[in-house]
């Protein structure tokens, strides 16, 4: 199959308008007879489901949490980008597009990224109308801050809880549609497989996580908004339940999986403290606005951070990247931290951490506040108190979180941070309409591969999830469903449902019947270790080849020695986890294969064999300017390539110096 991205004709800035002008529409009377399944109620899923309901479609929305409001999007901290240029600092749609494209190291489809930038402003309008309490200036207008990889201030935020506030807005819109009867939400339900009838996605098999029973649901189209797969590494900043199952099962039914190896490792997370650790906690990128990152210049530095004088500190980001300094993109900042720690300059007991220091910001803000309040010759304590007030206003919840986890007060001592798995740019391949290679199956939000190329810039995932859900999929799904207006409701008695349900039942029984000796977490941790060591921040041919063999062996062991207590027909969280990990075991191998195929470095994908003399990622455009799209086949995954073309940008060596 040739990959057709279906990018509309016309100039870049006109493409989306052209599409909307010419796509087919479904009349209100026909919408009433059409059903749509949405998997996921995060920003992408909730915004899509609510918007479908408003349009008049009948929607079934699913999530595995006990409430749609708890989707992982709730945890997003720092903010959401939009090219409003409210800051009057030279921002524009083009600039947001360009920086996203460059941040992604020129490995995304220009037309999708451009549309994202075009829609960014509408998102902020919509969210404000819903009552999202964004940060404001004293005059009552919206405030902005900067994020990594950009030189303008275009990030809108609600303290350090932007994702929470945006999701609660979308959740409100969703519940409003539940009240009208247009949307039904199935919480504590997990999609375990996709049902394809005559080549089209027409339904799903889900497990009711309370009763343990399998249930069937049908629709005219299925939209996946099931989030990212960072938990393949076991430890990540993702919520405990994040998983790849919905996307992976769809992949095995015919949807291609793209750029599997592009994983974002976020530079500022609280370091691992022990083997028992269940997840890692992010300290938002927004902290790099005010915090300075450094390590001691001396390998066996014994002094406390505050006692180390400036001349003995290495502000390595400011040193290496003077023009972006602490605000370089995430991939660059993460590798630089790893480089310092590997070289022996790390801090803390494990030596796997660097400092993120607010002492100077506190002083700077304190002086400004004292000046504003016309305090003459303020003493140091007054300045400190005033400065801490400002920092608390901006990052209070993050500082409190840090203190709860580590027991250290970051107003007094610098934070210790280290990179951690955070986001997956890869995902199901989609065309311009966000449709996968399987007709009738759409993928939105983090679970698709679109928009971010090989590295995502901060504050752009919330933007993408909401652009997809509020403003893109409501149009493109109509264009698809226009063919289906005469198709009556799909029966769940169709033999295809019998068949898939039987497969799911057998898979569950097989898992339960292993009756081995080791828990799901045991295997998940082993998998995570292989992935982190060999398909993590830095990769090479030897490691990746070994990883593939190791994963295959681990998978075999998993199917021989797994122990799941409890029963099939009742609530059984261990069984739920086991199914997710079984899919991670397959995905992990694909990620390594994808990483092996891509012999260049780009964005977050760093192949040691391909670097500049200064140790930066070296792209090889003439060989690798493509999206890798993997087709599942029994005998092995087959690689297809979508060649990337560049109309508005000229791929150049990314430089943040």
């Amino acid at each position: 199959m040739v990959l057709d991205a279906k990018v509309p004709q016309g100039e870049m800035k006109d493409k989306w308008q052209n599409y909307k002008d010419h796509c087919r529409l479904v009349s209100p009377a026909n919408k009433r007879n059409l059903e749509i399944i949405v998997i996921g109620t995060g920003l992408a899923g909730a915004s899509a489901a609510a918007s479908f309901g408003e349009l008049g479609y009948n929607v079934k929305a699913f999530c595995f949490q006990d409430s749609p409001r708890r989707a992982h999007s709730i945890a997003a901290q720092g903010g959401i980008n939009a090219a409003k240029n409210y800051s009057n600092d030279g921002d524009s749609i083009f600039r947001l597009f360009y920086e996203t494209e460059k941040g992604g190291d020129f490995r995304s489809r220009e037309s999708n990224t451009y549309r994202l930038a075009q829609l960014s402003g509408n998102i902020i309008d919509q969210c404000v109308a819903q009552g999202v309490p964004f940060a404001r200036e004293y005059g009552g207008l919206l405030a902005n801050r900067s994020f990594g990889g950009t030189q303008v201030s275009r990030t809108f935020y609600a303290r350090g809880q932007t994702g929470q506030q945006l999701l609660l807005g979308a959740y409100g819109a969703l519940q409003r549609q539940v009240a009208t009867g247009k949307v039904t939400v199935y919480s504590r339900h997990e999609m375990l497989d996709l049902v394809v009838i005559d080549g089209k996605a027409r339904g799903i098999i889900v497990r009711n996580l309370v009763t343990g029973k399998l249930e069937r649901y049908s629709a005219h189209a299925v939209v996946l908004a099931s989030g990212g797969y960072g938990n393949v590494y076991f430890l990540s900043t993702n919520a405990m339940g994040c998983n790849v199952t919905a996307a992976w099962k769809s992949h095995k039914r015919g949807a291609y999986f793209a750029n599997a190896c592009y994983t974002q490792i976020h530079p500022t997370c609280i370091p691992v403290s022990g083997d028992y650790q269940s997840k890692l906690t992010l300290m938002s990128e927004s902290l790099r606005n005010d915090g300075r990152i450094w390590v001691p210049k001396n390998k066996d530095e014994k002094r406390k951070a505050s006692e180390i004088p400036p001349e003995d500190r290495d502000y390595y980001l400011e040193r290496r990247y003077p023009s972006f300094g602490n605000l370089v993109p995430r991939d660059v900042a993460s590798r630089a931290a790893k480089e310092r720690c590997d070289a022996g300059y790390g801090v803390g007991t494990t030596k796997q951490a660097v400092y993120l220091d607010f002492a100077e910001a506190i002083k700077r803000y304190g002086k400004m506040e004292a000046h504003k309040a016309a305090i003459e010759n303020p003493d140091e304590q007054t300045i400190r108190n005033l400065g801490m007030g400002v920092v608390k206003d901006k990052y209070g919840n993050l500082f409190a979180m840090y203190e709860k986890i580590t027991g250290e007060n970051p107003y007094e001592v610098p934070m210790r941070i280290y990179p951690a798995v955070h986001y997956t740019m890869g995902g199901l391949w989609v065309d311009y309409e966000l449709e996968t290679t399987l007709p009738g199956l759409f993928a939105i939000g983090e679970c698709n591969f679109s928009d971010h190329g090989a590295n995502r810039l901060g504050a752009s995932s919330l933007m993408q999830g909401l652009a997809d859900g509020y403003f893109i999929i409501p149009y493109t799904i109509g264009n698809y469903l226009a063919d289906d207006i005469k198709t009556p409701a799909i029966s769940t008695k169709h033999p295809a449902f019998d068949e898939v349900e039987k497969e799911v039942t057998e898979r569950i029984q097989k898992l339960m019947n292993i009756k081995g000796t080791k828990s799901v977490d045991h295997f998940h941790k082993m998998l995570g270790k292989i992935m982190w060591d060999k398909c993590g921040m830095s990769r090479n041919e030897k490691g990746l080849t070994e990883a593939i063999t190791e994963i295959q062996q681990l998978r075999e062991e998993f199917w021989k020695d797994l122990r799941i207590p409890g029963e099939i027909d009742s609530m059984n969280p261990e069984l739920d986890k086991a199914q997710r990990v079984a899919d991670f075991m397959e995905l992990g191998e694909l990620m390594c294969r994808d990483a092996l195929d891509r012999k260049e470095s780009c964005g977050a994908h760093f192949r040691e064999e391909s670097q500049t003399p200064e140790g930066e990622a070296l792209r090889i455009d003439d060989q690798f300017s493509y999206v890798s799209a993997w087709e599942y086949k029994k005998e092995g995954e087959e690689l297809h390539k979508e060649n990337l073309t560049f109309e508005l940008t000229h791929p150049s060596q990314r430089s943040y110096k």
Binding site: A50, S51, Q65, D66, S67, R70, H72, I74, A75, K84, G121, N122, I124, Q126, V128, A129, Q130, G131, P133, F134, A135, R136, Y138, G140, L141, L142, A158, R159, Q161, Q164, Q165, Y171, Q175, R176, V178, S187, V210, A239, M240, S273, G274, Y276, S278, K279, T281, M401, K404, I405, G407, Y470, F471, P474, S519, D521, R563, P565, G566, S570, M571, P573
Partner: protein
């Protein structure tokens, strides 16, 4: 900070499903690090139970960083345990000493039935929101975000209320099982913002009526909710909700006027 190890006795509520009778079981866990979170300590317990061939303890958790509102354990008589302004996923074991005994129960409230062990059904909260906890703003119809200025004070005050994570600790801590704090958080958020104005009256009335139907009790101004709320939602919001309610039922005329 100095780290240490401890051995603990746990008394945990076990209940097979909604209709079964529950009971406390006693477990011992060893070598728990003071750096672990409370839920990681439960992971250790569950790993141990699996090794012994027993059913692990079911409990809700997802983000494990205090924001999703999934975790919900009643620890030694307090919703979310001993720390102030804290979710149980953010409680760390340095709160305990070697030899301690800890009693862990689910949320207990008529409106939150237990479905297994420490897991309860909080869907009543979703239905209360469904009754009006939003602004009706169809996708695509919004004016420019800066068209309506909102004072910094109003935005901040609305935010303080909007920080509610919907965990239900306020209900679990209340002798009447009232959802007043939860409802007031949403009502207040939207009452402080101009965007919420048009539906101010119906919102508060409908949400409160739904809460009654769900079996949440009345507010007796006891204040346990505020004390146990992990996000510091102020009981002042309940006063605001009551004013909104009075305003709604006493004033005549259409919405928004």
């Amino acid at each position: 900070m100095e780290h240490y190890k401890m051995n603990l006795t746990l008394k945990v509520w076990r209940q097979k499903d909604k209709d079964s009778k529950g009971r406390f079981e006693t477990y011992h866990v060893k070598d728990i690090s003071s750096e672990m979170s409370f839920l990681e300590m439960f992971d250790v317990l569950n790993e141990q139970l699996i090794q012994e061939g027993k059913d692990p303890v079911a409990f809700d958790s997802d983000c494990r960083e205090g924001i999703c509102g999934a975790c919900s354990m009643y620890v030694d008589g307090r919703a979310h345990g001993p720390w102030q302004r804290n979710t149980v996923c953010q409680l760390h074991m340095r709160a305990y000493r070697d030899g301690d005994t800890i009693v862990v129960e689910p949320w207990r409230s008529a409106a939150f039935p237990v479905i297994k062990d420490l897991t309860v059904d909080r869907s009543a909260f979703d239905r209360v929101i469904e009754a009006g906890g939003y602004v009706s703003a169809n996708t695509g119809s919004a004016p420019d975000a800066n068209a309506i200025p909102v004072s910094k004070w109003a935005a901040e005050t609305a935010f303080d209320a909007a920080a509610c994570i919907g965990c239900g600790a306020c209900v679990a801590a209340c002798p009447n099982g009232s959802a007043a704090l939860f409802i007031s958080a949403k009502v207040a958020q939207l009452a402080y913002l101009p965007q919420g104005d048009a539906e101010r009256k119906t919102r508060v009335v409908n949400m409160m009526e739904q809460a009654k139907k769900e079996g949440f009790g009345n507010c007796g101004s006891i204040g346990n909710c505020e004390a146990e709320c992990p996000k510091g939602i102020s009981i002042g919001n309940i006063a605001k909700r009551n004013r909104e309610y009075m305003r709604a039922v006493t004033s005549t005329g259409p919405e928004g006027i």
